[in-house]
Amino acid sequence: MVSLNYFLILAAILFSLGVIGFVMKRNLITMFMSIELMLNSVNLTFVAFSRHINSLSGQIFVFFVMVIAAAEAAVGLAIIVALYRNRESLSVDEVDRMKL
């Protein structure tokens, strides 16, 4: 039986990686993946706590998060494709204007 602490530490490491990736990277796709990483680290804590306190509600939350993440991925990727078609670049620093 792996203790709760290991799951939490792993989740914290994954979350921090996600944050660092989000802040440091310039490429939109990479930032997008970093967000997914953060979401999944949260999912991990949910599941871990759910086991720990013997309650299913944490796992239900995970399903919600996954559904939202899927929807977000669909919308986000569509935006990224549209953006690339217009600007021919995916660097966030170059798309800081609303107007072309």
Partner: protein
């Protein structure tokens, strides 16, 4: 079913019609609307009073205007003997003056006929406000009318608003009366505080049960009545707030006749008579009222002696006569105050209208020393003017004799300072005769003093102006016969009896009772004395101004100091300016404008707020770099701070 509300509403309708549509109507239609509405209102008033006089007091409650907790102010109208006298005076004289105005204002030229419709709209609005004032059944509605007439007075004084002096005079009238209105409204608030209502009947019922307050201490009723009287001094041009009335002569002459002689300025007398139960229980206030009335009568009468502007002499005469009315109220003879109000309304309106007729002929000239001999060309105006002058001088047989004599007799019997008050009134009676006949002799007799062309232009006024003059002259003769003193033909006291339900209550002291039967002979003596001084006044005027005109200059030269004191109206305007206006200007300029407004409000509050917001903004705007990763970093920082706070902060 009575329809009292129609009496004030009809003129309001006329005002609205003329005010909104008058520009597009011809002069004829404007006049028809204005005179028609006033005439209907007048006819209705007479009809209602004649029909319902057995049912007085008649109270009509129409709707609740203000309701909050135990405060209720309704649009309630009251028709009782007192208000019916006022309504008759206002509507009858108002109607005559409206008719006169058709002729007087006919020559107004310029865009929109020189404001012809505006004039009649304001006049009708005035009628509405004045009728509201006299018909109101509570102090708040009365105050609405009170302020309404003030507004119309302002609008009509400044009718020729392109003339600086006219618009200044309008403002002066408005602001000066506002000082009095301040006292009046405070008095009304006090009434509510003490009696818990604004309606007349419950107030008077409660007050009737209160005892007469001692002279020496400032009781509740004394404070209330003093405040109410402050309002009356403003509206009715008594010392020390009279200064606006002479300047108000800048308005068209019918306005002077209607507002500044016959009706609005008498509102203060009406208000005191209406509140007589309160005043009768405050002997100190009554003494103040009587003193101010008497002193004002004398003061204004002396100024009237030496003025050269015809309308201004009449204005000072009005102030002086209003002083008589207050003197009457102050000695408890409210009925006589109202009686003099009524007779004065006739002869003073007549004097003004006749003066307007003269002005009309003289193309606006008002200096009486540029006129003379007008009798030859203006016979009707002359005779009506003479009748009015005889009436105001108190010559037996005319209305002024009856009312003035009753006032002097009541003053003589006043519980305090009776002889003194009578003496002042008596001297004033002489002055009145003197300055009135000064006008008569200088303007209508002797040789014409103006230019040749002016003499050719002199003509009698059109019939539409003369008919009101003649009717008013009849009124000036006969209106006194409703109240004939007892020593003449046994006396006819129908006026006192008519007003008795309103003005005579147990506890109100009556001069008649104070005077014993033995003093009946005294009354005759006093009457003879006052007629004698009036005749002396006329003779002096004759001796100075008609038989030897150069005497006037000689006398003025001999008493140069007094002459110039009177000619400059005791320097009242200058003193007011130095003592009140200059300090106010100074405080306003340096204290309120330069210090408070520019430095504190503009500098500290307005610009200070802007400065703080701008500097904070320019410091914070660096956060908004426009780079997504910066924002993300701030989100992280924020999240870390929140977590840190949750973990260790508490």
């Amino acid at each position: 079913m009575t329809h009292l509300w129609l009496i004030p509403i009809l003129p309001l309708m006329g005002a609205a019609l003329n005010g909104l549509l008058g520009r597009r109507l011809s002069k004829t239609w404007v006049a028809i609307i204005a005179v028609g509405c006033t005439g209907l209102s007048c006819g209705l008033a007479i009809f209602e009073i004649v029909t319902f006089s057995d049912f007085f007091p008649l109270i009509e409650r129409h709707f609740t205007w203000i309701q909050a907790d135990r405060l209720r102010v309704g649009y309630d109208l009251l028709l009782d003997p007192l208000s019916s006298v006022m309504v008759l005076v206002v509507t009858v004289i108002g109607l005559l003056i409206h008719i006169y105005s058709i002729g007087y204002m006919a020559h107004e030229e310029g865009p929109n006929h020189g404001g012809y419709y505006r004039f009649f709209s304001y006049m009708n609005l005035f009628m509405f406000a004045m009728l509201t004032l006299v018909l109101a059944n509570n102090y708040v509605l009365m105050f609405v009318g009170w302020e309404g007439v003030g507004l119309c007075s302002y609008l009509l004084i400044g009718f020729y608003f392109r003339k600086k002096s006219a618009s200044d005079a309008g403002k002066k009238a408005f602001i000066t009366t506002r000082i009095g209105d301040f006292g009046f409204s405070l008095g009304v608030f006090f009434i509510f505080w003490v009696f818990g209502t604004f309606d007349f009947q419950p107030i008077f019922r409660q007050a009737a049960a209160m005892s007469v307050e001692p002279m020496s201490q400032l009781g509740t009723l004394t404070v209330i009545t003093l405040l109410l009287f402050m309002g009356a001094t403003g509206k009715s041009a008594q010392l020390p707030l009279y200064v606006w009335l002479p300047d108000a002569m800048e308005g068209p002459t019918p306005v002077s006749a209607l507002i500044h002689a016959a009706t609005m300025v008498t509102a203060g007398v009406y208000m005191i008579a209406r509140s007589n139960i309160l005043f009768s229980r405050a002997p100190f206030t009554l003494l103040v009222v009587a003193m101010i009335g008497a002193v004002t009568a004398l003061y204004a009468g002396t100024i009237g002696l030496v003025q050269k502007d015809m309308k201004r002499i009449l204005a000072y005469s009005t102030i002086s006569q209003l002083g008589y009315m207050f003197l009457a109220c102050g000695v408890g003879a409210y009925a006589m105050g109202i009686f003099h109000l009524m007779t004065h309304a006739f002869f003073k309106a007549l004097l003004f209208l006749a003066a307007g007729s003269v002005m009309h002929a003289m193309q606006g000239e008002l200096d009486i020393f540029k006129m003379g001999g007008l009798k030859q060309k203006m016979a009707t105006t002359y005779w009506t003017f003479v009748i009015a002058s005889l009436a105001i001088a108190g010559i037996p047989g005319l209305s002024g004799f009856f009312s003035k004599d009753e006032i002097l007799w009541n003053a003589f019997n006043a519980p305090q300072y009776g002889r003194f008050l009578w003496a002042i009134g008596w001297i004033t009676a002489g002055l009145t005769a003197l300055y009135m006949f000064r006008i008569v002799f200088v303007v209508f007799h002797g040789k014409f003093q103006g230019a040749e062309e002016a003499w050719h232009h002199v003509h009698e006024s059109p019939r539409v102006m003369l008919v009101p003059l003649i009717i008013l002259a009849l009124g000036a003769i006969v209106s006194g016969y409703v109240q004939v003193p007892r020593f003449l033909f046994g006396g006819v006291e129908s006026f006192t009896r008519f007003l008795a339900p309103v003005l005579e209550h147990p506890g109100a002291h009556k001069a008649e009772e104070v005077a014993s039967a033995a003093s009946r002979g005294m009354e005759i003596n006093l009457t003879v004395a006052s007629v004698a001084i009036a005749l002396i006044g006329i003779l002096v005027a004759f001796a100075i101004y008609l038989s030897k005109p150069e005497r006037a200059k000689a006398i003025a030269g001999r008493f140069r100091l007094i002459y110039s004191l009177l000619y400059h109206k005791y320097w009242a305007d200058e003193i007011y300016s130095a003592v009140i206006l200059k300090p106010i200007y100074f405080i306003s300029t340096w204290g309120l404008w330069k210090l408070l407004d520019l430095l504190i409000i503009d500098g500290l509050f307005v610009n200070g707020t802007g400065f703080v917001v701008r500097s904070v903004g320019s410091a914070l705007r660096h956060l908004q770099s426009g780079r997504a990763r910066n924002y993300a970093a701030w989100v992280v920082v924020g999240a870390v701070l929140i977590v840190a706070y949750l973990a260790w902060g508490r």
